[in-house]
Symmetry: none
Subunit: 203 residues, 4 copies
DNA sequence: CATGAATGAGGCTTCATTCAT
DNA sequence: GATGAATGAAGCCTCATTCAT
């Protein structure tokens, strides 16, 4: 009964999460039936309940799993990166867009997560986690802007937090656009945009 | 069944759409049961089917209804507006953000629509309508930018379409942020941001 | 409120019955919806209830209407017919089969009536009417056989009632066969059979 | 869903069929609700769908099940039976009538099957199966008649197929008569009739 | 511990019937 | 008297969850 957490158990948990992520991404939360996930994970339906107490918990598990991986992908090396604050902002922008494109076929998931964050019942858990994530991104960007200002690259009047908020939001927005039009060149748009933005905030 | 389209019929259709929008916004598509909508619209369950052939069609009806109203709200006066292209861009930005905030309690709907655009079955209808909407917005913004370039307010090197795409995306992004944090001051962020942006694209 | 029974009313009643018969024959009792009948009869749905208190009553009305017409068609002239009893039996056989084929596209109705006679609720009304009808046929045939015996055309040992029962059943049976295989030549089979039968009962 | 076909599964399938046959026989197809069948079979409503994909499929399953059993009951021993062709015809007649009376309380089913064979949607499946069944009976009877002719017991002029068609139809017809009047002595009528018939076809 | 057959609550939808126009 | 829009009871079916094997 106790979830003993052997390596074997962790592996199967991962295997279930991966399968569930794929199915949820394709069919949405409500469109997914537990049997699909079990089949995709190559386990019995009952087994799922040995790892997650309910469908919703499994979904939240996937959410958490994806968020952690996404954040890791975006943050990798930001701090270790050399260069000016603006260069690091450019790098972060790249990394964020890259991370979005990487998991493009899982992007449906993100939308499902947003939706879950709006439904009564699931709302709180999801909303809180989202807020944390956005907060983290915004703080990181704002810190870079502040650093740029101190370094004299950014003019004083810029509303750092506002720009940060919009920039972070933009990553989601670009993901959405690609979601709707796979041919949309998000990388180019993001690059062109960040240049314009930087020009706008430059001293 | 008889789509005779009397004024009375149109009124009741509207009444149903309004109620359905509210319920869908609150509980999401799957979380909503037809009985809720019927109750909210103060009609019998069966009546709903006299106006929309299925739950999904009703949902799509709401989608269409919201999109049309949203577009109308955003576009109002853009063309009649005087001033330079950049002034009109500022005005459009305001209008778009305003429209988002206006229907803030319906914002959950937008997310549900995105989700629907990702589910097999609903995908095509929703995706197509979304694409049209985004396309329209992007073209409008791009035209303004092009006009500004011709008027000499915007420097030649700017990638108009890319900036347009991002700007349009930003409206979604701001809506999302408000959705997650009702205290977030989207108007201020949008204003601050558009200033920065315009500075970035200025000659 | 009183069903005043003007000629106009009778005509509309007939019009409804005719339409209902057609629809019931095609789709069965349960498969038929009142709206179909109303449409087929070119009247409003509500009007039906001005003539029949319920769907089931309308169905029973159709049943009665068909039975009466069928009996009339079969009996026509039996008594007035000249010839020996056996000749009249042959004529009746012809008439019965002919009546079946006449209303061939309404034959589905007969089956529906049988079915109705088996369902609790409808059972009693239908069963009673059916019994009367069969009884009448059997008595008529038995009387002919008896007459034939008295005339010396039929040998004494024949179990008249049994033969009558079977002969009557045969008309149903032939109808069924045609129902299943429209190419089946019921007339020929009936003629060949009655000859054999008559030879079997002949003195 | 998994059609693994273990003995246990077969047993439960049979259990469901038996219960469904009873309920369908009593209330007809439309009058029967799945809950009734589930209760009669002492299983959950959902279980039914593990064995039959829909109410209609279950009904067809019952149809098939009944037909197979009925045919088996009628054919048993025809071939192994000694005696002349006419003796075997008498035996077959007995067996057929006996089989009808055996399942008398299921006879309502047969009518429901006929009805199903007339409804659009169910039509094709049922009609095809019925045709096969009738065809089989008719061929068997016709073969016996032909054999009798070769043996010199039956006179040459007899239209074998026509007589066969009517004889087969008569079994249904007798079933109907018993259905309407439980006191009707079908066995006696059938015996008396077959004697008359045989006399009619005898050399 | 894994499995998948069994369960039954609950949703979408249909349609006989009513009644205001 | 005729109409057809409105109603809500009722049925088929799905699917999250349990539990015997």
């Amino acid at each position: 009964m106790a979830a003993s957490d052997t390596p074997k158990r962790r592996a199967k948990r991962e295997q279930i999460l991966r399968a569930a992520a794929e199915v949820f991404a394709q069919k949405g939360f409500s469109g997914t039936v537990m049997a699909d996930i079990a089949a995709a994970a190559a386990v019995g339906k009952g087994t799922l309940y040995g790892y997650f107490p309910s469908k919703e918990d499994l979904f939240f598990g996937v959410f958490h799993w994806v968020m952690v991986r996404q954040e890791a992908a975006t943050r990798i090396g930001i701090d270790r990166l050399g260069g000016s604050a603006l260069d690091r902002l450019r790098a972060m922008n790249r990394a964020a867009v890259h991370a979005c494109l990487e998991m493009q076929d899982l992007y449906g998931l993100v939308i499902e997560f947003w939706a879950a964050a709006g439904h009564p019942g699931t709302r709180e858990r999801f909303k809180a986690t989202f807020r944390e994530g956005y907060e983290m991104y915004r703080r990181t960007v704002a810190a870079l802007l502040e650093e740029g200002r101190r370094q004299g690259d950014i003019r004083p009047g810029v509303d750092g937090p506002a720009v940060a908020a919009v920039l972070v939001g933009m990553w989601d927005a670009l993901g959405l656009q690609v979601w709707f039009e796979p041919d949309f060149d998000a990388r180019a748009a993001a690059d062109a945009f960040i240049d314009t933005l930087i020009r706008g905030v430059s001293a």
